[in-house]
C-alpha cells in the first residue's frame, strides 16, 4: 500500500481556537513519493492540519517530523526550506508581480547572491539570475502555463493562476507538496489537466498530499486516503477501502439507517467509476 520510507510523521497533533478543537490528536504519516489525499467534511480540520505542518499555526500538542527532523512549531520559512512546499486554499500569489517573479519566489533559498553581488552585478549575480530565469520557464512549461509570462498575475484567468501557484511551489523543489483544494473553481477540462499534472509531479518523486472535495479526483489520483472528522483521523486506507468504510460514510452523512448508507455507497461507487466527475459528498 505504501511505498518508500516515512517522510512526514504527524503524531497526536492538536490545535484549538478559543474553545474549538480544530485538530484534536491527529496522527498520520506520508511516505516518500506517495500521493495521499486528506478528506473530511467541512470543518474537519484539514486546512488547520496543513497550517500546523507548515508552521503557520503552532500545534498545542504533539509532534511533526519531516525526514527525521523535528519541525514542530518551527517558522514557516524554516519548514519550507527543509523541503515542504504548499499552495493555499484561496490563492496566495503576489498579485502585482509578474508570472515570472512569482515562480522565482520558489527559488529564493537556492539562489546564492549577496548585497554586493546585486549592487555590482558580479559574474555570480548573472549566473544565478540566468539560471533562475531558465528554470522559471521550465516550471511554467511543466504546469502548462501558456499565457504571457511577463504580465501581472492579477490579470490572469483563475485557472492559470492556480497553475502558477503550483509552479511556484514546485520551483521550491520540495520533497513533499501540499495542495489545498487545487481543483476548487476549475472546470472539467482543467480538472483533467490537474489530474495529469499531479501524476507527473508524483513521477518526479515528490510526495503529494492533497486536500480535495472533488471525490472523483481524489479516488482517481490517490494511492492512499486519510479521512478526518472533528480533528481526528477516522480512517486510513486505499480508495477502495475508504469508499466502503462505514465510519467514513457516517462522518459525511451522519447516516445511521441502511437506506441512506446504501445511497452514499452508490454515490461513492459512481464517483469512482466516473473518474474526475464532480461528485461532492
Amino acid at each position: 500500500m505504501s511505498k518508500g520510507k516515512v517522510l512526514l510523521e504527524v503524531r497526536d497533533m492538536a490545535v484549538s481556537f478559543g474553545g474549538v478543537r480544530a485538530v484534536d490528536g491527529l496522527t498520520f504519516s506520508v511516505h516518500e513519493g506517495e500521493v495521499l489525499s486528506v478528506i473530511g467534511p467541512n470543518g474537519a480540520g484539514k486546512t488547520s492540519a496543513f497550517n500546523c505542518i507548515t508552521g503557520f499555526y503552532k500545534p498545542s500538542r504533539g509532534s511533526v517530523t519531516f525526514d527525521g527532523t523535528d519541525i514542530t512549531g518551527k517558522r514557516p520559512a524554516v519548514i519550507a526550506a527543509s523541503g515542504i512546499a504548499r499552495t493555499f486554499q484561496n490563492l496566495r500569489l503576489f498579485g502585482d508581480l509578474t508570472v515570472l517573479d512569482n515562480v522565482r519566489a520558489g527559488m529564493h533559498v537556492r539562489i546564492r547572491q549577496n548585497f554586493l553581488d546585486a549592487m555590482l552585478h558580479t559574474p555570480r549575480y548573472w549566473r544565478g539570475e540566468d539560471t533562475a530565469a531558465e528554470e522559471t520557464h521550465r516550471w511554467l512549461d511543466f504546469v502548462g502555463m501558456a499565457y504571457d509570462r511577463t504580465t501581472q498575475i492579477r490579470n490572469l484567468p483563475y485557472g492559470e493562476q492556480r497553475r502558477v501557484e503550483i509552479a511556484r511551489a514546485l520551483a521550491r523543489r520540495p520533497r513533499m507538496l501540499l495542495l489545498d483544494e487545487p481543483a476548487a473553481g476549475l472546470n472539467h477540462g482543467e480538472k483533467d489537466q490537474l489530474l495529469d499534472l499531479m501524476r507527473r509531479i508524483a513521477a518526479l518523486g515528490i510526495a503529494v498530499v492533497l486536500i480535495e472535495h472533488d471525490m472523483g479526483l481524489v479516488m482517481e489520483v490517490s494511492e492512499r486516503i486519510v479521512v478526518l472528522s472533528y480533528g481526528r483521523e477516522i480512517a486510513d486506507g486505499t480508495p477502495a477501502a475508504i469508499r466502503s468504510n462505514p465510519a467514513v460514510i457516517e462522518a459525511y452523512l451522519g447516516a445511521e439507517d441502511e437506506e441512506t448508507r446504501a445511497e452514499a455507497e452508490r454515490i461513492a461507487a459512481e464517483a469512482g467509476s466516473r473518474g474526475t466527475a464532480e461528485v461532492e459528498w
Binding site: 507548515t54 520559512a77 548585497f115 501558456a146 489537466q193 518526479l204
Partner: protein
C-alpha cells in the same frame, strides 16, 4: 490553455531531473513568446517610450546631465538648489527601498537623515575629524538606529510600524534639541566640507554629491532587481506566501529597513557638509512627509519614477518662487492634481522580463 503542446515538457518523468540539472542550456522559446505578446500589445510609440524608460541609456543620460550641470551653469544659486535636489533624490531612493520595495510605511525617515548629519557634524566639529572619515561611523550609527527601532517593530504588521517610526522621528529631533553636546536648539555650526580639490568650494561639493547620489540611485535600483529586491516585493505583496516559499520575512524586512537607514545616514553627511550648520528644525516631520511624497508621487518601487518625484518635490517650490506667499498653496494643489490624474505615480514600476535574457528578448522583438 488546453493547448497540448504546452504540456510537452512534463511528458517525460525525467523532467524534474532535467530541470534540476540543465541549468546552463538555453531555451529561448518561452522568453520570446512572452516578450512577443507583451511587445505587440503595446503601440509602437508607447513601446518605444517604455523601452527607453527601462533602458540603461536613460540612467546613463541622467547621470551625465547631473555631472555636466556646473559646466552649463555655475551660478551659486543653481549649484545650491541642485545640491539640495540631489540630496533629496538620495533620500527618496533610500526610502523607496523601505516603502516602495518592501511596503513598510516609514513616517520617520528623517530620523536617519538626522542621525547621519549629527554624527558627522559632531565628529568633525568637536573632534576635528575630516568629514570623509566620519562616513563609516555614520553607517554604523544608522545601522544601530535601524536595529533599535526595527528590532521590536518589524515583527508587527505595517500599521504599527508607521506609528512607531512617526514617534522615532520626533524622538531623535527632540533629543537633539535638548542635549547639550548636540548644541541644543542652536545645533552645530562650522561643519567642514570634503575639501575643494582646487575648484570653487561649492562646485567641488556638487560633484562629490553628484557622484555619491548617482551611485546611490544605481545601487538602490540594482538591489531592487536582485534576489533581495524580489524578496522585498514578495513580502510587500503577501507575507504568508513569501514565508511559505522559505523566505524569512523578518530578516528580509530588517534588511530593507537597514538599507534605507544607511542611505538616509549618508545623505545626512552630504546635508551637513552642504549646510555647514544643522539644527533640530532641519529634521522635522515635514521632511519625512515630503520624502514619502516624492516616493508616492514618482511611483513606488520605480527608480526612475522616484528620482523624478524627488526632483519635482524639491524643485517645484523654487519654480513657484514668483508666486510668493501663494507658493506652498500652489505646491499643495499641484501635488493633489498629480495624484488625482496619476495615482500610480509619474513613472510607475514596469513589468516585463528582467535580466539579460529579457533584454535580449526585447531587442529581438523590437
Amino acid at each position: 490553455m488546453n493547448d497540448e503542446s504546452t504540456l510537452r515538457a512534463g511528458e517525460k518523468p525525467s523532467a524534474y531531473v532535467s530541470a534540476v540539472e540543465e541549468h546552463t542550456s538555453v531555451n529561448t522559446a518561452p522568453a520570446l513568446k512572452g516578450a512577443g505578446i507583451s511587445a505587440s500589445s503595446r503601440s509602437a510609440i508607447g513601446g518605444g517610450i517604455s523601452r527607453f524608460l527601462a533602458s540603461r541609456w536613460l540612467g546613463l543620460g541622467a547621470a551625465i546631465a547631473a555631472l555636466a550641470l556646473p559646466l552649463i551653469s555655475s551660478s551659486t544659486y543653481v549649484i545650491q538648489i541642485a545640491v539640495d535636489a540631489l540630496i533629496f533624490v538620495m533620500l527618496a531612493v533610500g526610502l523607496n527601498i523601505v516603502v516602495g520595495y518592501c511596503g513598510l510605511l516609514d513616517l520617520g525617515y528623517a530620523a536617519f537623515f538626522a542621525i547621519g548629519a549629527y554624527t558627522s557634524g559632531l565628529l568633525s566639529t568637536q573632534f576635528g575629524w575630516p568629514l570623509i572619515a566620519t562616513v563609516p561611523v555614520v553607517v554604523v550609527a544608522a545601522i544601530v538606529g535601524g536595529l533599535l527601532i526595527g528590532g521590536p517593530t518589524l515583527r508587527l504588521r505595517s500599521d504599527y510600524l508607521a506609528i512607531v517610526t512617526l514617534g522615532f522621528g520626533e524622538i531623535i529631533r527632540i533629543t537633539a534639541n535638548n542635549l547639550d553636546f548636540t548644541g541644543g536648539p542652536n545645533g552645530l555650526y562650522g561643519i567642514p566640507d570634503f575639501g575643494d580639490f582646487g575648484l570653487r568650494a561649492d562646485i567641488a561639493l556638487y560633484w562629490i554629491t553628484a557622484v555619491v547620489v548617482i551611485a546611490a540611485v544605481l545601487f538602490s535600483s540594482r538591489l531592487g532587481r536582485g534576489r533581495i529586491g524580489r524578496a522585498w516585493r514578495f513580502v510587500r505583496e503577501d507575507e504568508d506566501a513569501a514565508e511559505a516559499m522559505g523566505i524569512h520575512t523578518y530578516r528580509v524586512k530588517f534588511a530593507a529597513y537597514i538599507a534605507g537607514a544607511i542611505f538616509g545616514g549618508v545623505a545626512g553627511v552630504l546635508f551637513a557638509a552642504h549646510q555647514t550648520a544643522i539644527s533640530p528644525p532641519s529634521f522635522n516631520f515635514l521632511w519625512s512627509a515630503l520624502i514619502l511624497m516624492a516616493v508616492v508621487l514618482g511611483g513606488m518601487a520605480s527608480t526612475p519614477g522616484v528620482v523624478v518625484g524627488a526632483l519635482v518635490i524639491s524643485l517645484l517650490p523654487e519654480l513657484l518662487r514668483d508666486a510668493e506667499n501663494w507658493r506652498y498653496l500652489l505646491f499643495g494643489l499641484l501635488l493633489i492634481v498629480f495624484m488625482i490624474f496619476r495615482p500610480q505615480g509619474l513613472l510607475p514600476a514596469r513589468t516585463g522580463e528582467p535580466g539579460r535574457r529579457g533584454r535580449r528578448a526585447q531587442e529581438g522583438a523590437s
